[in-house]
């Protein structure tokens, strides 16, 4: 079990020497407990402390890197079973398959479709991570050429899936790109002999946890360091339970024998691949291979992945900007608040409840609530005046009247002085907005020049 901050503190010198960069030994201990610092930052630490804390901080699930450079994919390296306990670090990777049996145009078209599976959401690019090249032709030379073409066309790291002679044919040119090798079940040993000397990552395929334990041991014995396990589920329920059990063994039981990232081939006729992929994004699949290149399938899955792999401890923010609520027009009131999402959702729903259409103006305050942002100097007369002039709200409404949260009524003078807008002090609590908005005379929002 992980040590508490106080237990760690008791192992430290307790001199508050600050050499670690933290003000006190206890503060340092809390950082170690949170996994944000290591005992190596404490020069005076005793050998006992180093030994105890070093062992406790080793990651329970090793990291495997596929590919190189900017588009390298990291599998594994997770520390918790539930995202609320900390966060999930490395998103489930998606690989879309391409068959080496496709002829030239069809192959290129397939790669083009895979490459276009890329979507912009919430300021983030969501895209397929890998291409899985399947050897269906049985021809090593054709496979090698297809793999090279896939690499060239898609630009992503590759999963190479095929018999070892085909893999061997592809490696001379692709080995330096660090592909993930995936030999068939019977060829595990040969695959290990291919991967080991080149230091390449290898998918070990075997039925169930028992089978994997043996196969992983064999691959380790052959010298492969970066291992990924495919437990070869027969059905959707089987896939979910195997994935959950492998992760529990790694995190809860520290079972090093089977603590490796997982890969699931949801193509090749696997039943209900969309359902399986959805469930395995939430339940610990490290790499999923899909045959579908339909954006109607892939976009929802990538969005689900974006959701699940968001850090739950980051302050929840919404984007700054103008949010019309109801059928807001040029003469609708303008209400301002901060971009803490709870604040935003509360204020928006209270405006909705008023049934008075309004423009909700959201200020970027690092996800702080109104009072916190004000206290921290992020929600000030100056910053609000700046938003009034730069957000485009002046073009969206014909009046110049702003409704300010009652908590920061004191900013009204400064805002009026700097922006020329008139400020109405709104209620202290958002819950009073409905009655406040309903009582406002429409004359308050007459055009500025009237």
């Amino acid at each position: 079990m992980a040590l508490t901050a106080l237990e760690i503190y008791k192992l430290l010198p307790k001199t508050n020497c600050k050499e670690c960069g933290f003000p006190t030994c206890l503060a340092f201990a809390m950082q170690i407990a949170a996994g944000k610092a290591g005992i190596d930052q404490c020069p005076p630490a005793s050998d006992e402390a180093r030994e105890t804390l070093g062992a406790a901080s080793a990651p329970p699930l090793p990291k495997v890197v596929v590919g190189t450079g900017e588009r390298a994919v990291i599998l594994g390296d997770e520390v918790v079973l539930y995202r609320h306990e900390k966060t999930f670090y490395h998103p489930t990777a998606f690989a879309i398959s391409v068959s080496d049996a496709l002829d030239g145009d069809a192959f290129r078209d397939r790669i083009r479709r895979i490459r276009s599976l890329s979507f912009e959401r919430m300021g983030e690019r969501l895209a397929v991570d890998m291409v899985a090249v399947r050897c269906d032709s049985g021809d090593p030379a054709r496979f090698a050429a297809a793999a090279a073409a896939a690499k060239e066309g898609a630009g992503t790291p590759l999963l190479l899936s095929g018999p070892c002679d085909a893999l061997a044919a592809a490696l001379p040119s692709l080995g330096p790109d660090r592909p993930l090798l995936c030999p068939p079940v019977g060829e595990g040993d040969a695959g290990a002999r291919l991967a080991a000397p080149l230091g390449l990552p290898l998918v070990v395929r075997a039925k169930g946890i028992d089978g994997l334990e043996k196969a992983l041991a064999a691959a380790r014995a052959a010298g492969v360091r970066d291992l990924v396990a495919d437990p070869m589920p027969a059905s959707l329920p089987d896939a979910v339970s195997l994935s959950v059990y492998l992760r529990r063994l790694a995190i809860l039981h520290r079972a090093r024998e089977v603590a490796v990232p997982t890969a699931f081939d949801l193509g090749n006729g696997f039943p209900s691949p969309f359902a399986a992929a959805s469930l395995l994004v939430t339940k610990y699949g490290s790499l999923l291979v899909l045959d579908s290149d339909d954006p109607a399938d892939i976009f929802p899955l990538l969005t689900l992945r974006q959701n699940i792999f968001t850090d739950p401890q980051k302050p929840i923010q919404v984007e700054a900007g103008i949010y019309p609520v109801g059928k807001a027009t040029a003469s609708s009131p303008v209400v301002i608040t901060t971009n803490f999402s709870l604040t935003f959702f509360t204020v928006r729903s209270d405006i909705e409840a008023s049934r008075v259409p309004a423009h909700l103006l959201i200020a970027d305050c690092d996800g702080m609530s109104v009072l916190t942002a004000w206290a921290a100097g992020r929600f000030t007369g100056e910053s609000i005046a700046k938003i009034l002039s730069e957000s485009g709200i002046a073009g969206a409404v014909s009046h110049r009247t702003l409704i300010l949260p009652g908590m920061v009524a004191r900013l009204s003078g400064k805002i009026e002085e700097l922006s020329g807008w008139r400020v109405l002090v709104g209620p202290q609590e958002s819950s009073a907005l409905p009655s406040y908005l309903r009582r406002l005379p429409p004359a308050a929002f007459a055009p500025a020049d009237a």
């Binding site: 946890i209 329920p237 959805s278 339909d294 954006p295």
Partner: protein, 309 residues
């Protein structure tokens, strides 16, 4: 196997709740389990239940749904009958959105009349939802409670209106859906408040507010997971079945927009948007799902059955 046994046991058990059916219908029970979802461990007497939502009022249907509903009727009772039969939904979620001043402004009596008609036409268990407008709902729930000629669940009671909704439910023998805004503590508080005024625990479902895919689903995911872990660990006020209403997944621009061709066919995409939301909720621990797309009801129904009991 030389590695440890990865199965987990918990001291708690989720309360079993039965949604009663009308004459000729099949009641549905949820809860009763001692284990996390989708795993072959512990006791799991009931599979997750899949229901379908019918909404009254003037709302534009998402393209995917108008495609699915085509020719199935517009009268709520007819539409409900057709969709339930076709999809195999185990329960009906009837939302009286039409009573909202902006969505039709139906009189309360009309809302109550629709409830009576639909419940007569469709014998499966039912949950009746208000219109979401506080003042209207305050009148609507008592009228619905009276109009429903058989026990249903009223959706929903929150921290503000729980006395009214639970009062109406208690007077006519209905159950209550206890709603809270993606917050495990408020979920527990809602159940405690309902307990304080005498609603029996086997007549309460937790609605943790389900964010749609891409729009807050992750918060719901973690809250459902935590509510379930807390319930199984012995927190009785949280050991209740969880209902996830997937309606918000139909508000996502990605589920509605037909202009973005690179996003794929909007009819297929909209359906998938709801389906992905559904699977995430099931993985987290939901016991009841409310879908709008009949094909999703059928898909989910077919898959969450026997192997995942």
């Amino acid at each position: 196997m030389t590695v440890a046994n990865p199965q987990q046991t918990f001291p708690g058990r989720i309360m079993e709740v039965t949604l009663p059916a009308g004459e000729g219908g099949r009641s549905v029970s949820v809860g009763g389990q001692t284990a996390l979802p989708l795993l072959p461990e512990g006791e799991r007497p009931n599979a997750a239940a899949i229901g379908i939502e019918i909404r009254t009022g003037d709302e534009d249907l998402p393209p995917s749904l108008s495609h699915a509903f085509g020719g199935k009727g517009t009268d709520p009772a007819v539409l409900a009958g057709n969709l339930v039969e076709e999809s195999g939904a185990q329960f009906l979620f009837l939302s009286l959105a039409g009573c909202h001043p902006d969505l039709g402004g139906h009189a309360v009596s009309r809302g109550a009349g629709i409830v009576r008609d639909v419940l007569q036409a469709v014998p499966c268990p039912a949950i009746v939802g208000g219109c979401g407008e506080e003042e209207t709902d305050a009148l609507l729930f008592p009228a619905v409670a009276e109009a429903a000629q058989r026990p249903v669940f009223l959706s929903y009671a929150d921290e503000k209106n729980y006395r009214l909704v639970a009062g109406a439910a208690l007077a006519y023998g209905h159950g209550v859906v206890a709603w809270s805004p993606i917050d495990i503590n408020m979920a527990k508080q809602a159940n405690l408040l309902l307990g304080d005024i005498g609603v029996p625990p086997h007549r309460v479902l937790i609605d943790p507010l389900t964010g749609g895919l891409g729009y807050g689903l992750e918060y719901t995911y973690s809250i459902v997971e935590r509510i379930r872990l807390a319930g199984l660990s012995g927190d009785a006020a949280l050991a209740r079945p969880i209902l996830c209403h997937l309606g918000d997944s139909w508000k996502a621009r990605e589920a509605l927009d037909s202009a973005e061709e690179s996003w794929g066919d909007v009819i297929a995409r909209g359906r998938r948007w709801e389906e992905a939301t559904a699977w995430a909720c099931l993985a987290a621990g939901a016991d009841l799902l409310v879908c709008r797309h009949p094909d999703n009801v059928r898909t989910l129904r077919g898959m969450v059955g026997a192997p995942w009991r």
